[in-house]
């Protein structure tokens, strides 16, 4: 039996985002159980635990599930991830903070049990700038870019990176924090209206996203110059603005839509058998796909672990090895019925963060769907690598870890 | 005989001292309402001084001026021979002036005992640190003051309700507890605002007894507002009569009772007995 806890949040302020992710995560495991009888023949047991996006409940969830033989945690909240970094390391259970959490966890020589492949916040910022470079024929000299961010640890993540990049590419960066929860953003958007930045990048979360897109529409800010990180890129964020959100861009590290063979299987084995986690109406949404993708990566890592250790019922430590040896190739994904669903990447002891490949998607309001408008592009490693090394070694020093592989 | 500055001895042998507190030309206004108009009065040590007058005459306001809660627009308060500077009510209390209130102002959330103990607060001074340890200094002080409080509780015959929360008491018992709280402060001047409202004769007799005893035993000066003429006439040494904020009479009960202004404004008819 392979135990995968799912720390979901189907209640609270972020429920709307938590539900599709949790559904996708659950449905993929159900699919594996129904279709393949688990992973490598070993059945999967998924334990769902409601966190409400609340750190304390997250701790409770972790403590109550870890004894069940949990293989990997997907904490789904920056706060909970930070909790778990030391705890899970001490307990020898790997954590996969996919596209969130502590960016420098990419440095596997320091964060032995923490993985954040395939991309992190800094990759996001870098690829966003790269995309802008592409759109502006290679130069951002003299351009103005505004960052609208959730005034919390998460929102502040990209600032360092963007500052470095602004030095490198010569654009002017202005910072516009939005306080939680972000229902009232008049000040920020009036400022944008005055300063007329050429582009706006957003690191938002929850209601802040909807309001920002709405306000951008209200001041008639061109949507195609407005780009959000992947947590600002779900259907929930754009739909309340209706038509006016058309053209809004968001970064992503996995594909969108339900036009993949695996979804036929999901319909057949999961929805059809009445075992779908939710109402079934979330399938193919951005966050559902992200949940599914996370489950897929976990399953693949488990497979890899089974291969390495030659056992079906793997332990968390073995799972960790599997994650560290994970390699996602196009061939593999096609096999799984997910051709082109995510970037190709590989994980190693030094690099727990994949290759930093990120794509840009765009919202088509008329079609009510996202579509990828670029391929997966790699972030600017020249800039990011030293930043990550710096932060990781600071952490190592602070907590007395000797880095090494 | 009453003009002797150093005091005199009453008919029943009590020693009345010199003037301890003097209000000089007090005027108090609330917006348009002039509650007290240029009133002067003095209070002698050890006497029972009554203030009477029709409703809304400004009696309670006068007590409030004495206890520092209202600051008069005009006039001076002299206490123990020197002019009292502007003062917060708690500083007045610390000088040894305690009072009861017309609209009961007990601490409803506390027991009777605790209420009486609050009267002792001006006598307790152990610092936070020692109190947080309790054993030792704090406990000793508590016990010492508890003894005083218990004495007063016995005195006022409220032992039975000692641990009852005040909110559960009937009106009359609350009045008594309030008196206990004021007495517990062992004040040199005690201000009583209608202490006997809502009591029957028997209870008024008891109350009078307590007041007289306090006055006798501790030599406490008492300022008393009361509408029961019998009580006022029997207890007080001197009476001030107020009407519409003005002083219309001041003197012994006998003098006041026969003052025509007072009869017109307040008593209605010359009191029979």
């Amino acid at each position: 039996e392979l135990v995968f806890p799912s720390l979901s949040y189907r209640t609270g302020p972020y429920a709307a985002n938590g539900i599709p992710f949790a559904d996708g995560y659950a449905d993929y495991f159900t699919l594996l159980n129904e279709r393949d009888g688990g992973i490598g023949g070993e059945p999967i047991r998924m334990i769902e635990c409601e966190t409400g996006y609340n750190t304390e409940k997250g701790v409770e969830c972790y403590e109550s599930t870890k004894g069940e033989g949990a293989l990997v945690y997907q904490p789904l909240s920056t706060g909970i991830t930070y909790q778990l970094i030391p705890k899970a390391t001490a307990d020898g259970i790997p954590v996969h903070s996919m596209g969130y959490g502590r960016t420098s966890a990419k440095d596997g020589s320091v964060f032995k049990n923490i993985f954040n492949y395939p991309a992190n916040y800094w990759d996001g910022a870098s690829v966003a700038v790269k995309h802008l470079l592409d759109v502006n024929s290679g130069s951002l000299e003299g351009k103005k870019i505004a960052l609208v961010y959730h005034n919390s640890a998460y929102g502040k993540e990209p600032i360092r990176t963007l500052e470095e990049l602004s030095k490198k590419h010569g654009f002017e960066l202005s910072l516009l924090p939005v306080d939680h929860p972000g229902q009232e953003q008049k000040s920020q958007w009036l400022q944008i209206r005055r300063e007329k930045p050429d582009n706006v990048i957003m690191y938002g979360w929850g209601v802040m996203n909807q309001v920002a897109i709405q306000e951008a529409a209200n001041i008639r800010y061109p949507m195609d110059q407005f780009m959000g990180i992947w947590w600002s890129g779900s259907e929930n964020d754009v739909r309340p603005a209706g038509e006016k959100a058309n053209g809004y861009k968001a970064l992503t590290f996995h594909n969108v839509g339900d036009d993949f063979p695996v979804f036929d299987d999901i319909q057949k084995y999961v929805v059809g058998t009445g075992k779908a986690a939710g109402a079934g109406d979330q399938i193919g949404t951005a966050l559902y796909n992200r949940g599914l993708y996370a489950a897929m990566l976990a399953a693949e890592a488990a497979k890899t672990a089974q291969g390495i250790h030659n056992t079906k019922a793997i332990t968390p430590a073995q799972m960790r090895d599997g994650m560290e040896a994970l390699e996602i190739t196009e061939a593999k994904m096609t096999d799984l019925g997910l051709p082109g669903f995510g970037p190709e990447f590989s994980v190693s002891c030094e690099n727990h963060g994949g290759n930093g490949l990120v794509a840009v998607s765009q919202w088509d309001a008329a079609a009510d769907s996202w579509s990828l408008i670029t391929g997966y592009e790699q972030s600017d490693q020249d800039v990011l690598t030293p930043l990550i090394a710096e932060d990781a070694s600071a952490f190592a020093a602070e907590s007395g870890i000797t880095p090494g592989c | 005989m009453k003009d002797q500055a150093d005091g005199y001895v009453t008919a029943d042998g009590r020693q009345i001292g010199p003037v301890v507190m003097e209000m000089k030309n007090i005027t108090l206004r609330f917006g348009g309402v002039e509650a007290i108009k240029d009133i002067s009065l003095d209070i002698r040590e050890g006497e029972i001084r009554a203030i009477i007058g029709p409703n809304g005459a400004g009696k309670s306001s006068m007590l409030n001026v004495i206890s520092g809660f209202y600051v008069p627009q005009d006039g001076e308060v002299w206490y123990k021979g020197s002019r009292r500077a502007a003062m917060k009510p708690f500083q007045v209390a610390q000088q040894g002036i305690a009072r009861t209130f017309q609209n009961i102002a007990l601490f409803e959330g506390m027991s009777v005992l605790d209420n009486v103990m609050t009267g002792r607060l001006t006598h307790m001074e152990t610092g936070l640190f020692w109190q947080s340890l309790w054993k030792g200094k704090a406990e000793r002080e508590e016990t010492a003051n508890r003894e005083v409080a218990e004495k007063i509780i016995d005195f006022l015959e409220i032992q039975a309700i000692r641990k009852t929360p005040v909110s559960r008491l009937s009106y009359g018992l609350k009045k008594r507890v309030e008196l206990a709280r004021a007495l517990a402060a062992e004040p040199s001047i005690l201000l009583l605002d209608e202490p006997m409202a809502g009591m029957n004769v028997e209870e008024k007799e008891d109350m009078s007894r307590f007041i007289l005893d306090v006055n006798d035993e501790f030599g406490t000066t008492i300022v008393l507002i009361e509408h029961d003429m019998g009580v006022v006439m029997d207890l007080s040494d001197r009476v001030v009569v107020m009407d519409y904020g003005k002083k219309i009479g001041d003197g012994t009960p006998h003098e006041v009772r026969n003052n025509q202004d007072v009869i017109d404004a307040y008593l209605g008819v010359a009191h029979d007995d």
Binding site: S8, R10, T11, E48, C49, E50, T55, E56, K57, V59, E60, E63, S64, K66, G79, Y82, Q83, I85, P86, K87, T89, T103, S152, A153, K156, R160, H180, D391, A394, E398, S399 | G68, F69, K88, F90, Q94, A98, F101, A105, L106, F107, E108, G109, M110, D114, T118, R120, L121, T122, M124, L128, Q131, W134, A138, E142, T143, R146, E147, A182, A185
Partner: protein, 358 residues
């Protein structure tokens, strides 16, 4: 008769003013202490400690602190989250600046720092009263959170803005960081709980406590009988914040280990602790424990019943949980408006009369 009060006579005032004048109560209390100190540490594991005992103990300290301010002194405060954050950040700065000093000192100092901040934000209470004050303390809440988020010095310029507790020991035993033993963190917190309850109990039964209660019940009358309102209110703010600071420090260093200020010490925390003391009983130390237990345990129990036993979907359980907690609060209130502590007291009164109805 199950509960006897008669037969216990005090022969001295000191005896009468002890915490548990009734023998039966006293023995039960010793029994609880014994279990807490000498039995539980041997039984618990990580789950029990991290999901129940630590939050319960730490919230109990915060609740005691807030109860002093709200329950005893009547100054309604919604700044608890902010003050806990002060404690947490003070502790973090102290831990990282003086790694060799004992955690005990750090936690106590964090309390003192918080007390100072509390006094500062307590100043307006002289003028502002009731719910107005409650809302005014939100200014402290929002400002403090903003400040800790804004000024990098507080989080030692770390890239993420989070603070993480480095490993520290107490008498050579790890009590912070990842490698702690369940019993060690439990006992460390328990020590502060006992300390807080003891101090709070002593303060509230003496003259300071009476001053607070007088101010609470009728501040004008209190002032006229000789209570200096400024002093009384500010001491309440100071003592209350001291405990809240301690709880904040423990919350961060022992319980969570890593904290993001806006999320952990946000406005929700202020409300949560306030709810605890109202449910538990204002003006009661026991109530602080009862309220903390109620709001920490109930969700966990409901979750265990709903999800683990009945196997319902987690979200339905979570929603039902809100409905049930809300419903229970109302039911308790109607049964006894003055909180669990009062419910307990009335139950005792009834027991005393038992088997007669009254």
């Amino acid at each position: 008769m199950l509960y006897r009060e008669s037969g216990d006579f005090s022969s001295s005032y000191a005896e009468d003013s002890q915490t548990f004048p009734i023998k039966f109560d006293r023995y039960r209390y010793y029994f609880v202490m014994f279990i807490a100190i000498a039995v539980i540490p041997f039984l618990i594991n990580d789950y029990w400690v991290n999901s129940l005992f630590l939050p319960f103990l730490i919230y109990a300290i915060a609740a005691i602190g807030l109860n002093i301010l709200v329950g005893y002194c009547g100054q309604v405060s919604l700044g608890t989250g902010g003050f806990m954050a002060v404690g947490a950040y003070a502790c973090y700065k102290l831990m990282t600046s003086f790694p060799d000093v004992s955690m005990l000192v750090h936690v106590l100092l964090s309390g003192l720092v918080t007390a100072a901040v509390g006094v500062l934000f307590g100043l307006p209470s002289l003028r502002i009263k009731g719910f107005y004050l409650a809302v005014a303390t939100l200014a402290a809440q929002f400002f403090l959170v903003w400040l800790f988020n804004r000024v990098p010095w507080f989080y030692n310029y770390s890239a993420s803005g989070q603070i993480s507790a480095p490993e520290r020991t107490f008498f050579g035993i790890n009590i912070t960081g990842a490698n702690t033993q369940a019993w060690a963190t439990y006992l460390f917190c328990l020590m502060f709980v006992i300390f807080s309850a003891y101090v709070a109990r002593n303060l509230t039964r003496g003259s300071v406590g009476r001053k607070w209660m007088a101010i609470r019940d009728m501040d004008i009358a209190a002032e006229i009988i000789g209570v200096n309102p400024l002093r009384a209110k500010l001491t309440a703010f100071a003592i209350s914040s001291f405990f809240i600071g301690i709880s904040g420090a423990l919350f961060f260093a022992i319980y969570l280990g890593a904290v993001e200020v806006g999320e952990v010490f946000g406005i929700q925390k202020s409300f949560l602790v306030l709810f605890m003391i109202i449910i538990g009983g204002l003006g009661s130390i026991f109530g602080s424990f009862a309220g903390a237990a109620f709001l920490v345990l109930l969700p966990v129990v409901l979750k265990i019943v709903g999800v683990d036993w009945l196997g319902w979907p987690t979200d339905i359980v979570a929603h039902l949980q809100l409905v049930i907690v809300g419903g229970l609060i109302i039911v308790f209130l109607i049964a006894e408006p003055h909180g669990l502590a009062q419910l307990w007291r009335v139950a005792k009164e009834k027991l005393r009369l038992w088997p007669f109805p009254h």
